[in-house]
């Protein structure tokens, strides 16, 4: 099995205040800590488990800055064999269709059985790149995958639908699968793996070296224009309970009891 796993370096904004610059063109991300996108972390684990069961090799693909190499090395420490980091300011990174074209450019011309991606990026949440990538590569796909079973020449997957229902489908290989969180238990990188990862190949390429024409993946090529970013007004009609922690807890308890809510 030859597998590519596509991962993204994303900011953790779960407990952070997010600000947009005054032009409304970019999020001020310098204060955030970055790491592998949650769903991609599961995709890496799935790729490594598939490789352990079926032999073969796993190549990490990522579009991102130099700092993301820590994340890429970590994926290699977990068992991925080598990596390609693509960095080029010309890529229209806000458009998943452009991102998919770049990733396809990094895969095309090579033999592969599987491409795994996370099913959603935590930052822009489009859930589009993996499925678009499959179309670019001209191979079958399945999205939001919660179980992977490699069969002869095909793969049987469980797709997670709404309400906890699973859709079982079979697609022929090679294929692209977008991996849903919770499919497995991502491992921690073993110490010896971390050491070994330093010696593994991590190629850094731009669009020219990749053989992808910038004019096909830049802002001009994109059919959408990001006009404005802004912080949405959060309309909350909640009663905010104030005070010291203990006071807040006591006030809430009495509201719940007096209101007959508990």
């Amino acid at each position: 099995m030859k597998t590519f796993v596509c991962i993204k370096y994303v900011p953790d904004t779960s407990e952070a205040e997010v600000k947009v610059n005054s032009e409304g063109t970019a999020v001020e991300s310098s204060r955030f800590s970055f790491d592998i996108n949650d769903a991609d972390n599961y995709a890496v684990e799935e790729a490594v488990q598939i490789q352990e069961k079926n032999e073969g090799a796993v190549t990490v693909l990522s579009i991102g800055p130099k700092e993301s190499e820590v994340m890429i090395r970590m994926a290699m420490a977990k068992g991925c064999d080598d990596a390609v980091r693509i960095e080029d300011a010309r890529i229209a990174a806000f458009d998943p269709l452009m991102v998919a074209k770049v990733l396809a450019g990094a895969i095309k011309g090579q033999e592969f059985d599987l491409v795994l991606t996370g099913c959603m990026a935590a930052d822009d949440g489009q859930m589009a790149t993996g499925v678009a990538l499959a179309e670019e590569l001209g191979v079958p796909h399945a999205a939001m995958v919660k179980k992977v079973e490699i069969l002869d020449g095909k793969v049987k997957v469980h797709r997670e639908l709404e309400g906890g229902l699973m859709e079982v489908v079979e697609v022929t290989l090679p294929a692209v699968l977008t991996i849903q969180t919770g499919i497995n238990e991502p491992r921690y990188a073993p110490i010896r793996g971390i050491r070994a990862a330093q010696k593994k190949e991590l190629k850094v390429v731009n669009l020219d070296e990749l053989g992808v024409a910038a004019g096909e993946v830049d802002a001009d090529a994109s059919k959408i224009v990001l006009e404005k970013l802004y912080i949405p007004e959060v309309v909350s009609s909640a009663e905010f309970i104030e005070g010291e922690p203990d006071e807040k807890a006591e006030k809430l308890a009495s509201i719940l009891v007096k209101g007959g809510l508990v």
């Binding site: 999020v27 949440g125 790149t129 912080i231 009663e239």
Partner: protein, 324 residues
């Protein structure tokens, strides 16, 4: 012609809500694009569903083909592709659902369509179509413009729009299936129903929900103590279930369950839209989260901005005392 095509979504014989939610926004966009709303229904044995949709005062274009009995993203893509060629709609709307995300991006690539995913707003401004979507789990909104094209494609977030009530009678037109044969590269095998656990949280009167803010499972007893004090059942966000703190049948949200307790106490849950969609039926929502910008506060009735570990023990103690 600026018709707006809305792809009806159905599963196991029933139309899904997103179909009607899209009808909340499609008519205004169609009017501004100079066309009308046409709902595309691809299914097997579609008559009852077609009639139901037509009851919303729209034209239904129905394709009845046994190949559509169970959803197959690639068959849907093939059919949509042919119907776009034949009817040249100005806009195609698909749900940002497990079905939609498995198909729409590939269709966009195949047909070279300007595409925006997971939109929560759609409008025509000065003749140009613009979509609103969210970044960073709802902390930032983006206004995205489409460059001029014959046909645009969007996927629409579930629960972002409120479905209108049925109105005037529309019409149903049956068209021949554009499909010639089944595919050899993708096969539907079966559906597997969600496992049933010890507690059915859709029936719970009081629920305590935990999220990423719980940090680790050794903190769970603290929450269980609170739950026990008020006879609540425990549930959680996707993050809590992915982490293995709670079994899957306790997951609240679009990929889990929709709950309708009289009281929902949310602890350390940011309130991603997928989770919030699952608690729409809750009568009273209490949210405790240390991030003052957490989207959960938008749906809360009572809110505490603080570390849950500083609040929960005292809250449990006080509740026990008051209920004593």
């Amino acid at each position: 012609m600026g018709n707006v095509f809305v792809l009806a979504e159905h599963r196991q014989g029933a139309l899904r809500d997103i179909t009607f939610e899209m009808l909340a926004v499609a008519p205004a966009v169609a009017r501004d694009l100079g066309g009308e709303v046409v709902v595309l229904l691809l299914g097997s044995g579609v008559d009852a569903m077609a009639e139901k949709i037509a009851g919303y005062g729209v034209k239904v274009l129905a394709v009845d083909d046994p190949l559509f009995e169970n959803y197959n993203a690639d068959l849907n893509q093939k059919a949509l592709s042919a119907l776009i060629d034949a009817h040249k709609p100005a806009l195609v709307m698909v749900g940002q659902t497990a079905q939609g995300v498995d198909m729409a991006p590939a269709l966009a690539v195949e047909k070279n369509l300007p595409f925006v995913a997971d939109v929560i707003g759609l409008a025509v401004e000065d003749g140009a179509l613009k979509a609103t979507r969210q970044l960073y789990s709802g902390k930032v909104n983006a206004l995205v413009a489409f460059k001029p094209a014959d046909t645009y494609l969007v996927t629409v977030r579930e629960s972002a729009f409120e479905a209108p009530d049925p109105s005037a009678a529309g019409s149903v037109e049956k068209v021949e299936s554009p499909l010639k044969e089944d595919l050899d590269y993708r096969k539907f095998v079966e559906y597997i129903e969600a496992e049933v656990g010890d507690v059915d949280i859709t029936q719970s009167e009081i629920l305590v929900g935990v999220g990423r803010g719980l940090k680790e499972d050794k903190n769970l007893p603290l929450i269980e103590e609170l739950a026990a004090a008020i006879k609540a059942d425990l549930c959680g966000s996707r993050a809590a279930v992915d982490a293995g703190w709670l079994p899957h049948d306790r997951q609240v949200g679009t990929s889990g369950k929709a709950v309708k307790p009289k009281l929902y106490i949310s602890l350390g849950i940011s309130g991603a839209f997928q989770h919030v969609a699952g608690i729409k039926g809750a009568k009273t929502v209490v949210a405790i989260n240390k991030d003052p910008e957490a989207p959960i506060f938008a749906v809360a009735d009572y809110a505490i901005v603080d570390d849950l570990f500083k609040i929960v023990p005292k809250l449990a103690e006080k509740l026990k005392e008051l209920k004593g």
